[in-house]
Each structure stands twice: as C-alpha cells, then as structure tokens.
Symmetry: D3
Subunit: 135 residues, 6 copies
C-alpha cells in the first residue's frame, strides 16, 4: 500500500509510559526487538492499544485450539475481508510458526471454496436441514 | 430461515442419472443415507452440482492440513460472511468430527478478533512492515 | 425472515401526499396494483423514498445495458452481500422479465466463482499485470 | 493505491457543460477551488455524476443528525468495507470539520468492536430478545 | 431468525460464579433486570464473555464521542455487515437513548450512500488526491 | 498494489509438466501468448490451479447466459468485494469483449445502487412480500 497511514506511527522513543509498557510486552512475548506498524498507529489511543494487545495475546494463546491453527483462522478471515496489512502480517506470523507454502495454498483453497458456497447458499437459500440443528 | 428456497430442492426420486450419481457419491463419502438441502437446490444445474461437489471433496480431504482444521476454517469464513445455512451445516460437520463447544468458542473468538483488527487496519492504514514482506 | 421490520410499513391509506405520489409512480411504472414492503418502510423518510425510487428507476432503465442484464447484476450483488430481502425481490423481478432457472443457476455459478477467486487473489496478492492496466 | 484508475479522470477544461455544472456546484458547496478524483472518474457518466452528487449533498446535509456525525458514519462504513479511497477522503472531510485524532481512534474502536460482535453473533446465532422487538 | 442458536443460552440460575459476575455487571451498568441472549451464548466461554463485555463497556462509554453517537456507529456497521441480531439489539439500544425514527432513517441514508460510493470507488479506483493525504 | 505477492509467481520455464499443461490451455483458450499473474501464484498448488482454471473455463463459457454478461457479473462481484486485482483483470477482459466505458459506468451504477439498497434492507428489515415467494 503506497499511501501514508491515517495517523503517524508512534515510535518507541516518542511513546509515553503506557505505550512503552505495551511495546515492551509485545517484544518480550514475541522474543523480538521491534514492534510492527499496526501497534504504532494504535498507540494514538493507549487504552485501545492495551486492550487490543491483551485480547489478542489471550485469544491467540494455545487453548483447546493450538496457536498455529489460530493463525490459519486469522489468515482465512483477513483474506475473506480483503485486509492487505493483516494478510501480510498474519501470513508472516504463520510462516514463523512453520506454515509451508503448500499449507498456505490449501488454506486459501478452503477459504475460496467457502466463499463460493456461501454465495451459492445466499442466492438459493436452502432450508437448514433438521439434521444440522444443534442438539 | 423461514423463507422458501429460491428453487425447489430436487429429491433423489425426482433426480436424473447425473444428479443421482452425485447424491450417491455424497452419501457414500460421508457414510450417510441422506443428502443435505444445499446439494438438492444445486441439482438444478447438474454440471455445477458435480463440479462443486468434486471440488469440495478434493479441497476438504486431508493434505498438508487435516480435515478438522479445514472445517474450522470453513466456519470462520461462513461466520465472517454471515451465511446462515453454511454456519449451521459446517458447525454440524465440525461437531461430527469431534469439535467441542470450547473449541467452537475459541474459534469464534479468533474470528471476532480478526474482524476487529482488520477494520482497525482498514481505518488507520499502517504500512506493511519490511519484516513481513515475503522472502 | 421471521422478525418484525425495524419500522412499521406505511400503507397507502396511511401515507401522506408525497409518499402516495411515489407509490403511484412505482405502481404505474411496473403496471402493478401493489407496492412492496421495501418502499413501505423507506416511506418513513419521504425524501429518501423519493430519491431512492427515482435513482433506481433511472439506473435500472435500459441504456447501453438492457434491463434484464441489470437485474442479473442486482442479484449478483445481493447474493454476494447476503441480503435476504433483496435476493427474493430481485430474483422475482428477474423471473418476471423471463429469467429461467437455468439462467439463475449460471448466474450464481459466476457469482460463486468470482467470490472464490476474489479471495484467492486477496490471500496471494498477485501484481496487476501490465496488460491489464487501462490504456 | 499505485494503480491507474479504470477510466481517466476528466479535468474541468475537458468536461462538457453538464459535468462542469456539477463541478461548479461541488466547489461552491464546499468553498474550495478543486474537485476530487472520485467525481472526475464518475464524470464519464454525467447523469450518474449528477444524481450521486445531489444525493450525497442532500444526505450529508444537517437534518435530525448533524453533518459531523454523518461524516463519522461514512468513515465507519468505509473502514468496514475496506474502501481505501473513501477512507482517505472521508477522514480528511471529518478532520476539516474538526475531528481530532482521539475522536478518530474512538470511532474506529467502536467500528472494530461492532465488527467483532457481529461475527460472534453470526457464528452463535442467538435469538433476538423479545425486549428488542420494535414496538 | 427462526433457527436455534448454535449453543444453548446459559441462564443466570445455571451460570457459574464468573458468568454471574458478568451478568450482574451488565444488569447494574444498564439498570435492567435481564441479560440479552448475546451474552448468554457467549457465556460458554467465561473468559471471552468477560473480556468482550469489559471491552464493549469501555469502548461505548462517553469519551471524545458521546454514547449516542457510538450507538449510531454500531448500527451503521451492523447494517453494512447484515448482522440481524446486532441490528435489532443496537437499534433498540439507540432508541432507548432517544433515537427517533427520523434519525434512524437519516443514519441509514448515510449508510446506504457510503455503501454505494464505496463500490463506485472500488470499481473505478480513482487515485487518492494529494489534498486528502494526512499531514 | 505496491506490495509483493505472498508467493513468488511461477514462470513457464520454471513450471513442472502439470502446471505447463494448464498454462498452455489458458493461452490456447484465450489465443494469447502470456499467462496472467493470478495463475502464476496459484501454480504453487498444481491441483488447485487445474481445478480453478477448469471451473472458470466451464462457468464462463456461453450457456443460457452469454460470456459478455458473465464478465459483467464478475466485475460486479469484484467491485462489491473490493478485490483490486480482480477488478483490473475482469474489467480488461470485459473490454476485450467489447465493453464500452458507458457500459462500465452503467454496470457500476447498478452495483452502487444494489449495495445501497442492500443496506437499507439490512437496516430496516422489511418482510419478504408474498408476491416475491418462489412459486
């Protein structure tokens, strides 16, 4: 994306205490020495920065689903919505967790298929089968 | 959904040879004795029915990603797009493959989070970090 | 859709002069003796009712594209967006203009395919080929 | 966006009478001496240019909601849809009307939250509470 | 929506301590004696219930934008995404805060307009004007 | 789009037999001597490349709808979804089939209108008229 961001990224040296605390936690959690631009623009609202980071750290941590599967889901949503930044950042994150090109291709094949059949359903409106009803 | 489908479902006994062949393959592949309404409305175009079924059978079969993970991705896309039929059918399919309520909740937590941060990115337009650029 | 509309439909007998004038024009343009619910809820804002109707009458009238093709495009967008009311109303409108079930199926096959390849493109982000650049 | 527009922008000096009349009204309404690119590409269809401009002028003028609130809503929709041009143009318009960075951040926080809970609802499908039913 | 939710709502009497604490806070914050179904299905994941509620309480509280404006933005996003539950619940919430039918109509007129021009931009891809670039 | 694709395009000289067979068929079907980037990134998964190409070749071939109409529908979906690559490639394809600027403008006018009324319907939720119910 060639355009400027809508608000200027806030670098570590220009950040206040609250923002630095989040940046520090991001770098420590990821064992990196840099913070990506998404957080630097979000830093214009320190409360939003903090709650978004804490939510994402919690939601993406392993639970009944592992972190790798969660990254795949993140890519699936981002590709469906057409979010450029999120597609680059979460594809990179999934690769850092070992995702191969073949896995990316299979993931996107499912995403493509789901987007196709979602619209065939939207256009034809079949009734939900009784067998699919919860319990 | 209380409304009628846009085309009447075609039942097995009213289907032609080509359609029955697909219905048979669906039931055999899934080890069931019924075909869900999505395919019965798609049957108005036997070529579309056949190619869609063969694509989905191929795409959803285990490869470098397992079938369970693929079902989760299908739900993620369907919830993002708001497709009611697909949400019911693929949640049922994932449950048949062992998905627990806790896994469904964690899946949707990631879907919700991704939809949120996709829009924070869309609205603020941070530049893609050089570290995220593909090799 | 089983739920009530968010505002009550305004029937002809309860409508003011401005609203009745639009209702009359809708019925005359379509050679029918009834007005569909979309316009009856929009009637809560007579200016919006009037401008929306006049825009749609203008946009859907034959020009360099015929009205039938325009109805197909309307269905394509409505199925992509998952708008239930619009899918029913514009599928009915296209059928009234002669759309066959086979045409509906082919239309939705294209809609499904486009939704699939849109996401394959979103996820893989190929560069726009120089050959595709306008002039 | 680095790509060329799909049709060349039509500059004032190359525009016909109908187009110039709209350009003049845009500049006069906004008290500016330039017209933005959106209108210059739309000018390939003078009737569409005119009706779109008149609709937007009418819809965005103060009524029971003020113009500032309407600009915020425009940004919310544009960020949800991921429209790059619209995000830049309406963020600029809102800033010209006094929107602060803090207001932009709060706006996007709501947009993000709504996009998240929309998908939690889509995936879990709670019934509409009777208390939420219109009158 | 006539279908069952994908997970059964958890009523107060069946909820554990953590869930009851959130339900209590919802009712106290809103000065009501009931909890809407969205939270009752989210309660299957008490951590997600708690963080979603706390985020929404924080995000929707008055700041540089007032709560009423924030509710309008929530409706705008929900209508754009076509989320039925969210449309009913947030329209009801906005009405409880004084939104009139006329305000709802004007809000949706802006939402409709933005969705229209977002697609005219997507299809024609005008360049972002230099005047719109952030400082 | 200034960013690199997420996987490197596979050129003809670097492609394996299966991929070359698809590239050959694409060039022969279109009577061209080049293959566009979409297929070159898809080539990382030869099975997906082959099935996607065969589906699109089948779906876009003339049937009860002609190929030109099908290209218009493809543009309508791509503009609605905001897919940049698809908008450029299918607009170019439609122009190669004779689409004029006026037809493009009329097409997008319908797309814009449909996106607008889809959201007016989503926000007001009128009931589907009995006259619109299929047979």
């Amino acid at each position: 994306m060639a355009e400027e961001p809508l608000v200027a990224p806030i670098e570590y040296e220009d950040a206040n205490e609250d923002v630095r605390a989040v940046y520090d936690d991001i770098m420590q959690t990821r064992s990196t020495d840099w913070v990506n631009n998404f957080w630097k623009v979000l830093a214009h609202d320190p409360a939003l920065l903090k709650s978004t980071w804490e939510d994402i750290k919690q939601v993406m941590s392993p639970g009944s689903l592992d972190s790798f599967t969660k990254e795949l889901i993140y890519i699936a949503v981002s590709a469906t919505n057409g979010c450029e930044y999120c597609t680059y950042s979460h594809t990179a994150a999934a690769r850092a967790k070992g995702m191969t090109d073949q896995q990316l291709m299979e993931l996107l094949a499912v995403v493509g298929m789901a987007n196709e059949t979602n619209r065939l359903s939207n256009g034809l409106r079949p009734s939900v089968d009784v067998q699919f009803k919860p319990r």
